[in-house]
């Protein structure tokens, strides 16, 4: 039986960490992820975990410490946000290419500047090419459940990649909501122990980690890394299936809501999915065939699954919670468009950049996007495909 409780997204992650009891937790505090190491430090002080808690002087060092620990054969974890994640950038790539399954709790926050502490996805979206698996949560429950699944996915021999468990800063991280927790015993049994094949502290098999890779080998290693990311798709599905058998809650690469007969759909990531679902319920009662695709795994990107889910849709809006500055739309839009190119009939696709720096997204905002999609369907005119929503402006590229 699951345990009924209530806690914030940050506490849910710290609680999952306590249950898993990783060998090493190295962290430097930054809002809004600070509470995660704060809660965990309390568990350490209270003697509830035997984890080595390493306080470092920067995020570059926290990721370096995680790399050293994981390479030595330990399970290493950290937590960060925004500029903290940016400060790790070099090490994110090093850890991923060294094929070390470190787990990072990312509490999404706008990436400076102007300086802003509130939620958007610009921090982790910037890290999308670093070679990390990225799972996103809609609420505290999903943050907890994703964290319980993270290490099984990352450590699988055909994957061996680091993993980022993302949740929306403040909206999820600081909101207390109901949650179902699992017992320590069941969590430990589900997650299992880390059994690396090769590790630095193995005297029988000495090895080097992170040496210079010459031209004749570099590309082979990069292709292997790319193959590992492809393999991660199946790993995510397999671990989700076992999670459902064990705990009863279902997860996939994407989550579809009312998509069976949808003619207008949204594609988005994170906490806005809940607000969109409430809006869909309202509009369905009015007879509107609207649906939602929530992306759980952004890395690997579920291109086939998204294309299939959109195959029957006539118009869709991709909602990007990061700007991206491509000049032609955000990252989720670009990848969704690329995914749909294989479809015999591509739906009309627009991008709506929204929620930057914590700009609130309300049910009526979601309705405005659907209304806009219906306008496109009625007139047959797609109009501008790269829109921004919610800011003070009268430009036509504003929704």
């Amino acid at each position: 039986m699951s345990i009924k409780d209530r806690m914030s997204g940050n506490e849910a992650i710290a609680y999952a960490m306590k249950q898993i009891e990783p060998d090493v937790f190295a962290a430097f505090p930054i809002t809004p992820s600070t509470e995660i190491p704060q809660y965990f430090a309390q568990y350490v002080a209270d003697g509830k975990v035997s984890t080595e808690f390493v306080t470092v002087e920067s995020e570059h060092s926290s990721m370096s410490a995680c790399m050293g620990a994981q390479a030595a054969g330990c399970r290493a974890v950290t937590a960060t946000s925004s500029a903290g994640l940016a400060f790790m950038y070099e090490m994110l790539y090093v850890v991923a290419s060294a094929r070390l399954p470190v787990t990072l709790a990312c509490v999404n926050r706008a990436l400076t500047g102007p300086i802003n502490i509130n939620n958007d996805h610009s921090d982790s979206m910037g890290a999308r090419d670093s070679g990390w698996i990225q799972l996103y949560a809609e609420n505290n429950q999903e943050a907890y459940d994703n964290y319980l699944q993270a290490m099984r996915i990352a450590e699988r021999p055909d994957v061996r990649l680091p993993i980022m468990i993302c949740q929306d800063g403040f909206i999820t991280s600081h909101a207390v909501e109901n949650i179902l927790l699992e017992t320590d015993e069941k969590v430990k049994a589900f997650v299992g122990t880390y059994e690396p094949e090769n590790y630095l502290l193995n005297p029988d098999m000495p090895l080097a980690v992170g040496p210079y890779d010459t031209c004749p080998y570099y590309m082979e290693h990069k292709v292997q890394q790319a193959q590992a990311m492809k393999n991660a798709k199946q790993a995510i599905l397999d671990v989700a299936a076992d999670f459902e058998r064990t705990f009863g809650r279902r997860y996939g690469l994407i989550e579809e809501y009312c998509m069976e007969d949808a003619e207008a759909a949204l594609v988005l990531i994170g906490s806005t999915a809940g607000t969109a679902r409430a809006c869909i319920d309202e509009m369905r009662r009015e007879g509107k065939k609207v649906g939602l695709i929530k992306i759980r795994s952004f890395r690997p990107f579920p291109a086939e699954e998204i294309a299939k889910a959109l195959s029957g849709v006539r118009a869709a809006a991709v909602m990007d919670k990061s700007e991206g500055f491509s000049g032609c739309g955000g990252p989720v839009y670009a990848e969704t468009c690329a995914a749909c190119i294989t479809l015999p009939k591509v739906p009309k696709l627009i991008d709506v950049v929204y929620g930057l720096g914590g700009r609130d997204c309300r049910m009526e905002d979601i309705r405005r996007v659907y209304d806009h999609l219906y306008e496109i369907l009625e007139t047959g005119e797609t109009g501008p495909v790269y829109l921004h929503m919610g800011q003070r402006s009268n430009e036509k590229e504003v929704l």
Binding site: D168, T275, R277
Partner: protein, 192 residues
Amino acid sequence: MNRITEIRWHGRGGQGAKTACLLLADAAFTAGKYVQGFPEYGPERMGAPITAYNRISDERCTVHSNIYEPDYVVVVDESLLESVDVTAGLKKDGAIVINSAKEPEGFRPLLNGYQGRIFTIDARSISEKHLGNYFPNTPMLAAIVKVSKVLDEDQFAADMEESFHHKFASKPQVIEGNMNCLKESLKEVKGA
């Protein structure tokens, strides 16, 4: 349909409006409800206006936006009335609860034409009487439970007592003061 009670808290950084909001979420959870309790953060500094929100319902509420049309508003610091439009969007059949020693109707001219019910509670004197210091959390929490009827009063008092026993396990001497503070607050709410 899922009936959702929405509450907005106005306070100043450091006064405990966020804590009171989370305590209400706790109490509602204990009563078997689905809850949301979340603060809205700006630049963090003592004394700056802050807002916090509660949604309380019988089924999970999936909406994750701030609350613009609350059923109830709680004002933890009456000096906010000069600078913050605390009744913005407040439903006519809802109510506002203000921490003040003054009579409720005296506030009507300050509430931008708000027509609904006004309540006050003198959290300072109740808190100073029972706790020897000014902690407005418990009185404001009791007042909003009383006014909104979102929880059964007796059950709420019993749940809070248990929660105080847990929270103050290392200093049981403050439990009685907090409970007296809570019980008196349930009685001392003034207004329609």
